[in-house]
């Protein structure tokens, strides 16, 4: 377990710098809104979802609109329903308590790294959790530094740190490639996601693209059965 934890932690290190830099931007925004460092740390530890926390801080204006904020978080994080579902093979044969304990530290980053490792047959829940602790450490360090001392890097875009996430996720997607049968589902996912981003508000495009692409794959399955 510790060995897997360590491998997972190390595998997520390439992402930690970008996560920290974005954390520092959030820390600055939070301190401008009058959110204390303790409250911000509580958000990091209990919510642990970057884009949702950015939106929460944006909406942070006393008296706090609890219902609106909760709904916004629900919509932004809806993709975690799919992400959680896709982790089923990694959690195969584990106890309910283990699932409850390990699923909290699942972010886009360590999930993606874990799925790529799973594709090579190297993933485990310890690997996933190690990655989660790595991302959480970077996220907490970044936000606390930003809150206390201002942004570590004032303009992450100039260093293409925003593109770091895109580049890593692109690389991880390539390592998930399963051959010709992925062509149609992947093209569909790209088209659905790009169209969804243009036509729908918020983060719905992730769900539309993810589900749309996977549905195309499911349709192919039917065709194969008919042929045989």
């Amino acid at each position: 377990m510790f060995r897997e934890f360590r491998i997972g932690f190390i595998a997520n290190l390439p992402l930690a710098a970008s996560v920290g830099a974005y954390g520092s931007v959030l820390g600055v925004l939070a301190s401008q809104k009058g959110i204390g460092w303790g409250e911000l740390l509580l958000m990091n530890l209990s919510i642990f979802a970057g884009s949702a926390q950015f939106v929460m801080v944006e909406m942070w204006m006393p008296p706090l609109p609890i219902v609106e904020i909760t709904l916004a978080v629900l919509v932004i994080n809806f993709r975690y329903l799919l992400i959680g579902a896709s982790l089923r093979p990694v959690f195969h044969g584990t106890s309910l308590g283990h699932k409850f304990a390990m699923m909290h530290l699942v972010a886009d980053e360590n999930w993606a790294v874990t799925m790529a490792a799973h594709h090579r047959g190297e993933a485990s829940t310890g690997f996933l959790f190690g990655g989660g602790v790595c991302i959480l450490s970077a996220w907490c360090s970044g936000t606390m530094l930003g809150h206390g001392f201002g942004a570590v890097i004032r303009d992450p875009e100039a260093y293409a740190l925003d593109f770091a996430f895109i580049a890593v996720f692109t690389a991880l997607a390539v390592s998930l490639w399963r051959g010709k049968k992925d062509i149609a589902p992947w093209l569909a996912a790209i088209v659905f996601a790009v169209a969804g981003e243009k036509l729908l508000p918020g983060k719905w495009y992730i769900l539309v693209g993810g589900i749309g692409g996977a549905l195309v794959s499911a349709c192919q399955h039917k065709e194969e059965n008919n042929e045989s």
Binding site: P14, V73, Y80, L82, G84, I166, T170, E197, I206, S217
Partner: protein, 101 residues
């Protein structure tokens, strides 16, 4: 700071945390109750790849020609070297050079 305000802060964070954790655990537990064979299995197996692409595709498109070029370099690098970190550096490098030109 009156205590009411702090209570509201705590409640707001707690609600957001419960919703997020509920989605994470709910997805996993839901998947276990659904069939693990046939067409649904095919759907689930395709999901990691299609979610990842959906996360990045709009960002690549909105980054324009250079964004697409950087993503292609990243993809090619991964395909050839299987090194995710190197591929990330290549993609970021292309974008950083273009932005600072």
């Amino acid at each position: 700071m009156n205590p009411d305000f702090n209570m509201t802060v705590f409640l707001t964070i707690a609600m957001a945390a419960m919703v997020t954790y509920g989605l994470r655990v709910g997805g996993l537990l839901l998947a276990e109750r659904l069939p693990s064979s046939g067409r649904f299995r095919t759907f689930m197996d395709a999901l990691p790849g299609t979610i990842l692409l959906s996360l990045v595709a709009p960002g690549i498109v909105s980054a324009g020609t250079w964004g697409c070029a950087a993503a292609l370099c990243t993809a090619l690098c991964t395909y050839l070297t299987r090194n995710v970190f190197l591929s990330m550096v290549v993609g970021m490098g292309v974008v950083a050079v273009q932005r600072n030109l």
